[in-house]
Amino acid sequence: MKPRALAVTRYTAPPLVVAVALLALSCGRRPAVDTAQVSARRIQAALPARDPDSAIWRDAPEHPARLMVQDVTEPRLTTPGVELVRVRAVHDGTAVAFRLEWDDASEDLIPESGRSSDAVAIQFPLESGADVPDPAMGQAGKGVRIWYWKAVWQDDERRARAGQGDRIAALYPRASIDHYPYEAGGAARREMERRYAPAAATGNPIAVRPQGGAVQVLMAEGFGNTGPTATQLGTGVGRWKEARWVTVITRPINAGPDLAPLRPGVRTYLAVAVWDGAARHTGSRKMRSGWIPLLLEAP
């Protein structure tokens, strides 16, 4: 009598073979995998800064970035979240675009109590070279710069374009509110703004984002002191589909010393972090990588 497992294997094998063949046909060739570093090819075409599905990405080598739980500072993550981010990069001599792809069973957009937004970030040492700062948010005197993409910010823009109202309307579509004193007119409104939305009144960069966009550029010298840089240059576009985020973050290659300048042909480093909103990841509750070598192809 044949073992049962063998019979099952023989029965299921043909569909599997067909599926693999179909996948190969539909996707074209898989990008080369570079486990040693993130290699950003120089391209002549426009950067696919807003297109995670652009054909350009197929030619970019893919680096499988392994993430680990953030366990340096409390609160730490004790249960692993996203453990793999596939990173590809291309540049045009002026800006570099990173394509980050990771599995996430749910699309988490608007944070509310007990729920946070999906997010991803790429971190660079402020100064490249062998003496890199601590990969966990840098350290005193040796800062890092971070391009931080947050799903809710992208959703804010989408709703604004679609005329779908603010976060409260999105969270509570059936709610009916008679009146917010905040929406009084003139001087009364300004007073109400101070009283009822103090974070906005103080210009908190989480509450007020005059430049818009889904990316915030941050500086840090260790945990607990993250803040936005004076110059905000970066874009981010994410797309969640079939339990997977694909997000493109674009940053300038050299926009001055405050934005961690990169030099094509000179190896530096990047690190990646992912927050899973469904698992209530925020702040230091995150999955992160160590430093990963980064090389922008020289002209």
């Binding site: 366990d71 500072t73 409390e74 609160p75 730490r76 993550l77 004790t78 608007i110 944070p111 509310e112 109590s113 007990g114 729920r115 946070s116 809710v152 603010d166 976060r167 409260i168 969270l171 509570y172 709610a175 509110i177 917010y180 004193p181 905040y182 109400m192 009283r195 009822y196 939305a197 103090p198 974070a199 906005a200 009144a201 103080t202 210009g203 908190n204 989480i206 509450a207 945990f223 607990g224 002191n225 993250t226 209530r280 925020t282 702040g283 230091s284 509750r285």
Partner: protein, 375 residues
């Protein structure tokens, strides 16, 4: 973790930061026995501070019915269960605080509050512990009971919200010990929402940041009590300043009620935060429940309160509750009056300790009818 002294536990305990007490500490006494859950305090706060977008569910001040009410939902039950046994030996707490019970990787033992947990502020309202048996008559101690618990931020000496914030965006004001959340620094991580055992920090989904009770500090700075105090129609609240026990002053109303007479007790002292809102416990509730909620001093506090009307100092002090908008740093008894004194111990308010009693006979001899109490 540092070692700090928590006088409410009668011992030192672990805390994220070292002991650093403010110049003076905001303190308050709530007399539970007088609260009728009219929610005037709740509305006074709501209309003053949290009428904005994203604050729809926020009640920095709320009044819930115990034993079944809670806002946010099951804030205390969940934590009490997670903490395990809470054991007192006399006046010393031998169990673990939420700092000492923090799981690996956490700064405190916290319970995450979900947006739905704020959706039922009136859950359990007016519900008593069980039903009245058919044919039962009222007897003492009562077979069934309930009471109203008015709550604001406790402006704790060892705040869990403060210790949990990885950005150090929460701090105690050195001048008055009021715990405030720096609205310019908060990045909305919600660690404070998770950490506060009293559920008194709230996430605003509109701004993406957290907010909390500020003890109406703009009023406090002018020597005026907060909105929820001065609007209390039951006059159950008194705001002042609480000293550490060794520095307690007999003519400080809060010190007198808390330290001298041990009549007003902290809410869930076993959490370990040294909360600074003190409650005169309800007199109609079994000791076991009171001890769980207010610590081992509760039965004695109830006994003292039952005799308070015959104690001129206590009766006078309670008469000062709600008698003036101004904060009462000191008081004295002068004859048949209780007198409120300012920081320089100068009088600014005076109330009779006992109101005159008029007994109206049931019969009206002039009209030869029985009077009715219907209004």
């Amino acid at each position: 973790m540092a070692r700090v002294f928590n006088w409410q536990l009668g011992r030192t305990m672990s805390y994220w930061y070292s002991e650093q007490r403010p110049k003076r500490q905001f303190g308050a006494v709530f007399d539970i026995n007088k609260c009728i859950a009219c929610q005037t305090c709740t509305l006074a706060c709501k209309t003053t501070w949290t009428s904005g977008r994203g604050q729809e569910f926020m009640l920095w001040n709320n009044v819930e019915t115990k034993p079944y009410g809670s806002y946010p939902l099951a804030w205390d039950l969940q934590l009490l269960e997670a903490m395990g046994e809470q054991r007192w030996n006399g006046q010393t707490y031998e169990g673990r605080t939420i700092f000492e019970a923090a799981p690996a990787g956490e700064r405190v033992l916290g319970i995450m509050k979900h947006s739905g947990d704020y959706a039922y502020p009136n859950v359990g309202e007016d519900e008593t512990l069980g039903a009245v048996d058919k044919g039962a008559a009222l007897s003492l101690p009562q077979q069934i009971w309930m009471f109203y618990l008015a709550r604001i931020c406790n402006h704790c000496t060892y705040p869990a919200c403060l210790s949990s914030c990885s950005r150090s965006a929460i701090y105690k004001r050195p001048e008055d010990g009021i715990v405030v959340l720096d609205q310019s620094r908060c990045r909305g991580y919600q660690e404070c929402v998770r950490a506060c055992p009293y559920g008194k920090v709230y996430f605003n989904p509109s701004t993406g940041t957290s907010e909390k009770c500020i003890a109406c500090f703009p009023k406090i700075e002018q020597g005026i009590q907060p909105q929820c105090f001065v609007n209390c129609i039951g006059k159950i609240r008194l705001q002042g300043w609480i000293s550490p026990p060794a520095q307690a002053k007999e003519d400080n109303p809060i010190d007198y009620l808390v330290h001298v007479r041990k009549l007003a007790l902290p809410l869930y002292p076993q959490f370990g935060l040294e909360p600074n809102v003190y409650y005169v416990p309800p007199i109609n509730v079994p000791d076991r429940f009171l001890i769980q909620m207010f610590g081992p001093g509760a039965p004695a506090a109830v006994r003292t309160y039952r005799e308070a009307k015959n104690d001129k100092t206590l009766a006078g002090l309670f008469a000062l509750f709600g008698s003036t908008e101004r904060t009462i740093p000191y008081f004295k008894i002068a004859g048949d009056f209780a007198v409120a004194l300012d920081d320089d111990r100068k009088e600014f308010a005076r109330v009779p300790i006992y109101e005159p009693v008029h007994i109206r006979r049931a019969e009206n001899p002039l009209l030869q009818i029985i009077r009715s109490n219907t209004t």
